[in-house]
Structures are given as structure tokens and as C-alpha cells.
Symmetry: C2
Subunit: 189 residues, 2 copies
């Protein structure tokens, strides 16, 4: 777990430089070792490297984002403006590989287990000097058909994976003390 | 990320041996560097080392588990029997430290972000040769009062942390190939 505090691997701007397939497989293998509810391993991974498929995914997501951006309240609209977030998702075609992560909704603690495993993926990517972003389209249930995924699977996230070209500094974190209590809520460490 | 495939850190049996406070803080600091929805950092951590508080938590959880075990269907009852899982949760008082993790339900992707951060904690514990178990009581909303947590916070998990005395081997994982597809569902890598 290298330099967690200083390195920044959440990025929105990716180099088109190819990455090693093997590095991505390593990260998925790490994820598959995560604990899960009743050890049911509810996760499934779709590794996307076909440019046509990336284009289809981007088009489906952007259609959703247009709809979502038109529907958000003033506060969120302002926040999007502040962060330069629009309906456009170029990282979905720029990143050399997308990793779509699904969870089987019929299994116990499916989402919890799958997001825990996504934490493993992000740290494993970090270890290989790769960048990502935990992007979730606004209407994930509409993405099933794009991937031919069965009905019981929910798309949890699409991780674009590649080398970062993002010059934005790491987002600041809350002071550590304000997130941790000792024995009871609001009792400082 | 050391020996993910071979080491086993999910355990139900803990040594009462004290652990370094500093090691647990390291793991929480790692978690606090995780990405989160709109960078809202919805997680809060309660580190429990007071034996009286651990006793209260165990009593509250076991009361819930008795209720839960009485209510489950035949399939789950059989699985509990197979795994030797009862309503008793001795790890909640045996483990030298409990780490309760809460998420603020008012924040975007609160549960997802928090479970991703829990993945960071588990790998950080692994790095320090510590063991844990992602235990979630059956009625987490009833645990708020035990911790004095505000209404908008949900208890996601209680991680007992310590050295393992568990002789049980690691639970097997699905063959890797059956969890990963390429470009489309059911297309093998």
C-alpha cells in the first residue's frame, strides 16, 4: 500500500497509451480474493478492450447523463459546474481498458461485498501505477442490455483504467480526528 | 498487497493478545484516503477498546442474532449449521479492538464508498499481519443507540481486529475464469 496519502489515482483524463493486460488481470485476481457475504463471491467482471464496445458503452452512458443532468436540482447543478462535470464522458473511450463490475442481487450483502472488492482493485491498480475513477452511470439498470448481463446482475461501476494525464491535485480529505471516535460517538481519540 | 491468494485473514477466533493501537490507526488512515461519492467521505469510525463497551456491543448483537436465527428459513438454517454459525459472537469481546464503521445515509453513494474504504482497511490489516471479519449485525439500525450515533448514520460493519487463532483454512474461491468476461457477458477471456 504505497504512498496512499500523497499519490492520486482518481483521474478523469487518461492517456491513450496501451496498458498491460496482465496488470488488469492481477487487479481482478486481487478482488476475487476479497471476503464476501457467505463467501458467495457475487461479483462478475467484464474487461472491455474492444474500441467498438467502448464506444457503445460511452454512447449509452452519455445518453443517461444528458437525462440526469437535465433532472438535477440547483445545488447539484452548481456542484457539477464547480467540478467541470458535464454529461460528456470521454474517459470511457480514452482509457485503454474499461472494467465493468456487476453484483448478483440475489446474494447476501451483494453490493457491500462487491464494493469491498472494488477497494481491492483500486489499491492493486495503485500498486501498478495505473489510474482509475469509480464511475457509475446514473441509471445502471439500463446498462444490462449493453453487456448482455442477466437480470439478477446490477452494474455497480465502470472503472476506466489507464495512465493519468490529469493535472488536478488530489481532493482534500477531512482532518483525520474528525472522522474517528473512541468507544462512543463524538468522543475524541 | 502481500500474498493475497494464500494468506487468510477472515477469522472468527481471536487471541486476546493486545495489538498496537498505531496499527489500527494506520488502517483507518488508509481508509480515509479512499475515493468517495462527490468526495463527501461519508464514513465515520468508532474504535472500541473499552471492555465494558465491547460487552455492551456483544450483548446487543447477540440479542439480535437470537431473533434472526429464530426467523431464518430452512436453507439458511442448514448453512449456519454447516458453518457452525450460531447467535453467539464471542469475537466481539475476545478481539482486543473492535472497529465500528458507519456511513452517512444522506451522502451520495454512502454505502458504496464506505464499503470500498472497508476494502482498504482489510488490506491494510493484512499488511500488518492482523486478522478481521466483516461482521454486520442483523438489525444494524438498532445499534445506533449503543454508540450514540446520530440518525443519519448507519452501522455498516463491526470489524473485530486482532491476531487469529483460527485453524480453519481459507474459504475456496470460484475458478477465476468463471468470474471474468471479455467485452460481453459469457465471452471468455
Amino acid at each position: 500500500m504505497v504512498n496512499l496519502a500523497t499519490r492520486r489515482r482518481t483521474t478523469r483524463v487518461f492517456a491513450k497509451t496501451p496498458i498491460k493486460f496482465e496488470d488488469v488481470l492481477y487487479c481482478i485476481k486481487a478482488a476475487a480474493q476479497a471476503p464476501s457475504g457467505a463467501n458467495r463471491q457475487p461479483w462478475r467482471f467484464v474487461l472491455v478492450d474492444d474500441p467498438k464496445m467502448k464506444g457503445k458503452i460511452r454512447a449509452a452512458c452519455e445518453e443517461q447523463e444528458k437525462r440526469h443532468h437535465a433532472s438535477v436540482d440547483a445545488n447539484l447543478k452548481q456542484w457539477f459546474g464547480l467540478k467541470n462535470i458535464t454529461w460528456e464522458k470521454p474517459f470511457l473511450t480514452d482509457a485503454p481498458i474499461l472494467l465493468a463490475v456487476f453484483s448478483n442481487q440475489k446474494m447476501p450483502y451483494a453490493a457491500e461485498s462487491t464494493w469491498l472488492a472494488i477497494g481491492y482493485i483500486i489499491l492493486a491498480l495503485e500498486e501498478r501505477s495505473l489510474s482509475t475513477l469509480t464511475y457509475t452511470p446514473s441509471y445502471p439498470e439500463n446498462m444490462r442490455s449493453v453487456f448482455n448481463a442477466p437480470n439478477e446482475y446490477k452494474l455497480e461501476t465502470i472503472l476506466p483504467i489507464g495512465y493519468s494525464l490529469d493535472s488536478k491535485p488530489k481532493e482534500p480529505r477531512r482532518p483525520f480526528q474528525s472522522s474517528v471516535y473512541r468507544n462512543l460517538w463524538n468522543v475524541e481519540m
